[in-house]
């Protein structure tokens, strides 16, 4: 981020502007602002994140183990970013994705996380720190976590390309995303992203309506159709955005899409009701469809996966005691129980050895090693996900994460991209 832009914004940052406007409005109504007293007696953490990651069981276990009450603030992916930038005092702990860091770090609203306070820091998987899985480089197009992992100071607004003790986010969970399909309604093998726009599925396909992620899926399709090879799908030029949106627009005009979805539950309903038979999807959504007894496959595709990663960050305004609580919770989160819980949902946890210690051997074999299930595989809430003998979609951790082609991203041309996306919706 250039110096110039920052100087321009000093006069009236978004935060002070909104604070000012709020105070003004409040003052004009009530003649003053009531003092806000925060009690230090209660151990409460206001946890901002997306609903899909905010599991009541994790909050309950944290309460039991640490005595900390987790107050979830569930919002959508885009809304998390907006909250951090506009209301940085409204939470104590945020669970956000790495791709939004390009917006968050320059704002200075997130404080550098002290790596020395994280017990398991050295055990964090190399997919984050080095962009490697099992010693092999994986795809790094887009905002790969290794590109935005370190900051050059606790309160700095810049990334650091070399390791420092200040980390942008403490990684929690990540996954390799692909298309979800209804094998019973398709009835033939699917092995390429190009199938998403195959006229065979006219009126039965869907993509997500989060522009920055939707366009990446579209780019995977464009490459799979052999129309264009992107130097970096996660950072397109204007011409590349035009090309990608043109392909999507044509498909939309042909009636390829049944609907777009923007929230996890919508994708589950579209798939479970049979409105849609092929769509971009998130792993727990597949799980949710399957627990209804409806067949649904997280189909591995030959072009690879689009990966994402999330982690914990703290607001710059956090005070000592609250920060201690947050670090206590984060260390607990990485200590195994939560990691095992996430792995059983089809995600991957950032620290694998502790998660392994909290899983049964047959579970580890199924979820992480891609071996056939020795027993029925249960979801954390006790519903059956797979019968004995079945193999996880996409196989082992090394195959799935090793097959990552690109990461969720924020493009330099984001502003143009959003305009084009609106044009696409209007077409």
């Amino acid at each position: 981020m250039s110096k110039k832009t920052q100087e321009n914004t000093i006069g009236l940052s978004r935060r002070s502007f909104i604070k000012g406007a709020g105070t003004l409005a409040a003052a004009s109504m009530f003649g003053g602002v009531a003092p806000y007293v925060m009690s230090n007696e209660k151990k409460v953490l206001r946890y901002l994140g997306t609903a899909v990651n905010q599991d009541q069981a994790i909050a309950a276990k944290a309460k039991e183990d640490l005595g900390i009450t987790i107050e979830y603030i569930p919002v959508t992916t885009d809304e998390v970013t907006k909250r951090i930038l506009t209301q940085p005092n409204s939470f104590d702990l945020v669970d956000t994705e790495y791709f939004s860091l390009k917006k968050l770090v320059p704002s200075g609203n997130l404080i550098g996380m002290n790596a020395n306070r994280i017990k398991e820091f050295d055990n964090i998987v190399t997919a984050f720190t080095k962009g490697e899985v099992a010693g092999k480089k994986i795809g790094d197009q887009g905002t790969a976590p290794k590109k935005v992992f370190y900051k050059d100071g606790e309160t700095s607004k810049n990334f650091s390309s070399t390791p420092t003790e200040w980390v942008t986010l403490i990684p929690t969970v990540y996954n390799a995303d692909t298309l979800g399909i209804r094998p019973d309604l398709i009835g033939r093998p699917i092995n390429s992203w190009a199938e998403l726009l195959n006229p065979e599925f006219k009126g039965k396909a869907s993509i997500l309506n989060i522009p920055s992620i939707g366009i990446m899926d579209a780019a995977m399709v464009v490459e799979a159709m052999g129309e264009y090879k992107y130097p970096d799908k996660g950072n397109m030029t204007k011409q590349e955005i035009d090309l990608t949106m043109k392909v999507l627009t044509e498909a939309k005009k042909q009636g390829q899409f049944r609907a777009f979805w923007s929230d996890f539950n919508e994708s589950v309903n579209l798939m479970a009701s049979g409105e849609v038979v092929i769509q971009s999807m998130w792993s727990p959504a597949i799980t949710a469809v399957r627990t209804k007894g409806i067949p649904c496959v997280y189909q591995p595709l030959k072009e690879g996966y689009r990966a994402w990663a999330a982690g914990f960050g703290l607001p710059t305004t956090i005070k000592g005691y609250q920060a201690d609580l947050a670090y206590e919770f984060i260390n607990w989160f990485l200590s195994g129980w939560a990691g095992a819980y996430l792995n059983r949902q089809g995600y991957y946890s950032a620290v694998l050895p502790t998660a392994k210690a909290n899983m049964e051997a047959y579970e580890w074999d199924y979820w992480m090693l891609g071996k056939p299930a020795a027993k029925d595989i249960m979801s954390p809430s006790g519903q059956k996900l797979a019968s004995a003998g079945e193999v996880r979609d996409g196989g082992s951790y090394e195959t799935r994460m090793g097959g990552v082609a690109c990461w969720n991203a924020v493009m330099d041309e984001n502003r143009y991209m959003v305009r084009k996306w609106n044009e696409f919706v209007a077409s």
Partner: protein, 290 residues
């Protein structure tokens, strides 16, 4: 000591509320629409870029409609459809309640029945259409099992049809209430006199009832039109997020922190809505006829 003007004192609380929660924010929106922005900050400035981007390509006619015009066209299509159907249904319901139901008690009971759907939330009433209209929904499965159709009807859901249906379902009451109100004030002896003079039912409706319930029709129309113009939830949910609306564009821009661009869009939308309301007020002087 000068006596304070009691009527302006009465108006003061509401004036204050309007000033701080409507006028002030609106001024802020107009100001912000001229600002510059980055991914993470607003930059106070005076630039026309947000408006230029908003109308980009709109005045070079060779290339089809620009995003903004196409979006407004789509929005106005639903405004017009919704207005037409809510007006026809709302007028019919009000007519029945006022002139066909004789006892006042029965009128009140039936009127309350009309409001029962409002006991559940707007969003729930909207979402409830999905299992009904879906590809494997109740309507399609019933029609197939009755042998009326072989293939499920696709256009029932996530289409212009479902959006219009949703709007009409949600907002007809906004038409019924004001029309009912103004119809109830019509002197019944006028109708009797018309009948005695040999007017047909149609003549009574067009020559007496419609002119005398103009103010109700206009207030109902203003409600429905202003609600539908800014809607993005109904269009999103029942249109499968595939149908453009101005509200939707503002929403997307807001979620990408492009507040100035969203503000510019909002200013244009507010201006157009105000112009529409002003034009309607020209046709009927609501204040005089209330």
């Amino acid at each position: 000591m000068a006596r304070p003007n009691s009527s302006s004192l009465l108006a003061l609380p509401f004036a204050l509320v309007l000033a701080s929660f409507f006028i002030l924010p609106l001024i802020l929106v107009v100001v912000v629409s001229f600002w510059d922005y980055t991914e993470y900050s607003l930059i106070p400035d005076f630039i026309l870029m947000n408006y230029e981007e908003l109308f980009y390509g709109c005045f070079d006619w060779g290339d089809g409609l620009c995003t903004t015009f196409a979006t407004y066209l789509s929005t106005f299509k639903y405004v017009l459809l919704t207005w037409f159907f809510t007006l026809v249904i709302g007028f019919g319901v009000a007519l029945y309640l006022v002139f066909c139901v004789r006892s006042l008690k029965m009128q009140i009971v039936l009127f309350l029945i009309c409001t029962i759907p409002f006991w559940t939330s707007n969003v729930i009433r909207m979402i409830s259409w999905i299992p009904l209209l879906g590809r494997n929904g109740i309507v399609n499965t019933s029609l197939i099992s009755m042998g009326v159709i072989d293939q499920p009807i696709e256009w029932l859901l996530y289409s212009g049809f479902s959006v219009t249906l949703g709007f009409v379902h949600l907002y007809t009451l906004f038409m019924v209430v004001p029309i009912f109100n103004s119809m109830a004030k019509i002197d019944k002896s006028l109708i009797e006199a018309a009948k005695d003079s040999g007017a047909s039912a149609w003549q009574i409706i067009t020559n007496i009832i419609i002119p005398l319930s103009r103010s109700g029709i206009m207030i109902g129309s203003i409600f429905v039109i202003t609600i539908v113009v800014g809607d993005f939830i109904t269009i999103g949910v029942l249109g499968g997020q595939q149908i453009a609306s101005v509200g939707k564009i503002i929403y997307v821009e807001m979620s990408y922190l492009q507040f100035p661009a969203a503000a510019a869009n909002a200013v244009v939308l507010v201006t157009i809505t105000l112009l529409m309301v002003a034009a309607m007020m020209r046709i009927v002087n609501v204040r005089k006829e209330l």
